[in-house]
């Protein structure tokens, strides 16, 4: 199938109820469903598997009933293991298939770390590009309701250290569909992280199959005072903060890299050149995470564009507590982003 022939898009259309393709708003989960459905339809080499994929709930509605349309050979439930499941996907990819492996939570990917890090990420390099592994691995980050330490981790920061993987974290329904399709089209292993709180978010989603290229950030809001780089659900939180700050006359620029590997650092650097201030809002632990990397790259490459210390809005370095009084203190959102912005705004420019 000519996956390379797919229409490439990158800017989210404005919703316009009279404008044909742009007249449709879709849930994030429906956008993912559509992307999977279209991928299965488009290329018989694509198949999808995962624990409970054929449940009535169907992985938060993103797979519901697809096995009826494509058969249990192409959409199938799996034994309860992760290491073999991912290794099997790799083997099937070697043999010419394009598997999609679905996991409920990134926490469970740790069982398959060897297959992902020692195998998937290295196969192209070790064999000089001769054996492509077009495998996409999906996992849904969970939050809240006492899910506790083993069922709530946002682990993109771990995988992000590993060369050879591509990592997408969509924040809108539009991006979700386009990045999903790019991920399936890619001939390399792709990790695709969804955040559970995004499933009901809506945006304008064209019906046709379109691909959003990896490594192209989206400026989700323009502004001149502070640059916020945010991923996944933190994009939503950042936009919320930006709205409130605008009321106080502070114009925040919100950049969503959409993929953290590859990372579109140029768009971030251009923004920091303009604003002089950088905040990175991440879903994951502070130490050693994606936020640290963005700060390192920006300070290495554009130190003199920064007028004050960069700042991370990222999780405290702790396992997730179960109790809701602790969860409230643990998770960060619009309020914390707003505070961070006010703090860097207060720092006077010294350049």
């Amino acid at each position: 199938m000519p996956w390379t022939k797919l229409q490439v898009e990158s800017e989210e259309p404005e919703f316009d109820e009279n404008a044909g393709d742009n007249a449709r708003k879709l849930d994030f989960e429906k956008a993912l469903f559509e992307a999977l459905d279209q991928s299965l339809e488009y290329d018989p080499r694509v198949f999808a598997m995962g624990q409970g994929i054929n449940d009535p709930q169907g992985m938060f509605g993103t797979t519901t009933g697809l096995f009826k349309k494509y058969g249990l050979e192409r959409v199938f439930d799996t034994p309860l293991n992760e290491e073999a499941a991912i290794g099997i996907a790799l083997g099937a990819a070697m043999a010419g298939m394009r598997p999609i492996v679905i996991h409920n939570r990134p926490d469970f990917l740790l069982m398959a770390m060897d297959q992902i890090v020692n195998h998937a990420a290295k196969w192209s390099y070790m064999f000089a590009g001769q054996v492509p592994l077009p495998v996409m691995i999906r996992a849904c980050v969970c939050r809240g309701w006492g899910s506790a330490a083993q069922h709530s981790q946002a682990l993109h920061g771990l995988f992000h250290h590993v060369p050879g993987l591509k990592i997408a974290l969509p924040a809108t329904a539009y991006d979700a569909k386009g990045l999903f399709i790019s991920g399936v089209a890619d001939n390399n292993p792709v990790l695709f992280f969804e955040h559970r709180w995004l499933y009901k978010h809506q945006s304008c989603v064209p019906e046709h199959m379109y691909a959003i290229p990896f490594g192209e950030a989206a400026v989700k809001r323009e502004g001149s005072d502070v640059t916020i780089v945010a991923v996944s659900h933190m994009v939503i939180e950042s936009l919320r903060a930006a709205d409130e700050l605008a009321a106080d006359g502070i114009e925040v620029e919100v950049i969503d890299p959409r993929t953290i590997r590859p990372l579109d650092i140029e768009t971030i650097l251009a923004s920091v050149k303009k604003t002089g201030r950088l905040i990175v809002a991440d879903l994951a632990w502070t130490t050693g995470g994606f936020a640290a990397e963005v700060i390192a790259q920006v300070t290495e490459r554009a130190f003199h564009d920064l007028t004050c210390a960069p700042k991370r809005v990222a999780l405290p370095d702790l396992p997730t507590p179960a109790g809701y009084t602790l969860e409230q203190a643990f998770y960060l959102g619009a309020k914390d982003i707003k505070e961070a912005v006010l703090e860097v705004i207060r720092t006077k420019k010294v350049s």
């Binding site: 293991n81 309701w145 506790a148 109790g323 203190a329």
Partner: protein
């Protein structure tokens, strides 16, 4: 379907010789689990227990029957469906309910929630919500007991799903090699969430997995408390007497949804006939009928146990509901132990 499965390949045991006290304690354990779970279910919709609960209703005989043979110094290792294991081993009821209510008085001080219970004082060192995650812990504890020349044993509870994780096989291999006192207890309820075993395994007789390592094993009707009791006696004494590991597969019925309240028959999309009338068995009612018939307990004693359990459960909920919540200022506490 389940009834047939339960007979299928299940080992036969002669009726165990239970004293009146043992009978009463066994019944109390099962009722404690039953009444606690029903109460959780009853109150869950109030949204005060903000943690996912995996109920063991229908499966009570296994936890209770196995733990009847354990000493305080023995260790149990549990999973996401953890309440029954914790209670059967003698974990504090109030501390468990408080944990479900995410209170500072919870057994894990509200840090763990329903899937992460702990009761150190009775040999329960914390349960894991990673399927099969605690399996090697049990082997490690058993190895420690062996090194320490103790006659304690370790018991780990695994679901049928957990038997599909590689670490279960690695753990059996270690256990056989080191001949450590560990009993692997498989609670085969035929489901992992909503996925029936038949879509996950070619061979549903999980006790056969142990054959790979020459570990003695058998399949038992887990809905029959007497069979559970008798089979566990055998496995525990095997392990305790230095003969090495044992694998018990109990065929059971999970009455509820995978997580949260709700009748499983409404949701399980495969083989719902398992849950239609005639197939559902109640281990506790079967047991009570048996003990009354055999005169092991009289009906007033049974009533007394029921009353005591009801009271204990009621008190535990009151304790939990009135307990303080963790203070957000203590968020970073406990990352490390001293």
């Amino acid at each position: 379907m389940f009834l047939e499965m339960a007979k299928n390949d299940c080992a036969q045991f002669s009726v165990p010789n239970l004293t009146g006290e043992q009978t009463a304690e066994f019944l109390r354990k099962m009722l404690l689990i039953r009444v606690t779970e029903l109460k959780i279910e009853e109150l869950y919709h109030l949204d005060e227990m903000k943690t996912p609960v995996h109920l063991s209703l229908g499966e009570e005989a296994v936890s209770a029957g196995v733990c009847m043979h354990l000493r305080t110094e023995d260790a149990v290792f549990s999973n996401h469906r953890s309440h029954a294991h914790y209670l059967a081993k003698g974990g504090n009821l109030g501390a468990m309910i408080a944990e479900l209510y995410c209170r500072e008085t919870g057994c894990s001080s509200g840090r763990g929630g329903s899937m992460h219970l702990v009761a150190k004082e009775v040999g329960h060192w914390g349960s894991s919500a990673i399927v099969a995650g605690a399996t090697p812990h049990a082997v490690g504890a058993a190895l420690a007991f062996q090194m320490q020349k103790k006659d304690s044993i370790a018991v780990v509870f695994l679901g049928d799903g957990a038997c599909q994780q590689g670490v279960f096989y690695e753990s059996m291999g270690w256990a056989a090699l080191k001949k450590v006192p560990v009993v692997f207890v498989i609670e085969n309820n035929f489901y992992s969430v909503n996925s029936h075993l038949s879509v996950r395994e070619a061979n549903e007789y999980l006790y056969k997995r142990a054959r790979a390592f020459d570990i003695p094993s058998c399949r038992v009707d887990g809905m029959n408390p007497l069979d559970v009791y008798a089979s566990a006696a055998q496995a525990v004494s095997h392990a305790r007497s230095g003969k090495g590991p044992f694998v018990l597969e109990y065929v059971v019925q999970r009455w509820r949804m995978h997580v949260g309240p709700g009748d499983a028959s409404a949701q399980l999309y495969r083989m719902p006939e398992e849950f239609t009338k005639g197939y559902r068995r109640d281990p506790i009612e079967e047991f009570i009928a048996h003990v009354l018939k055999e005169g092991l307990l009289d009906s007033s004693r049974v009533q007394e146990i029921r009353t005591r359990v009801d009271r204990d459960v009621g008190e535990a909920f009151v304790f939990a509901q009135n307990s303080p919540l963790p203070d957000a200022r203590d968020l970073t506490k406990y990352l490390f132990v001293e």
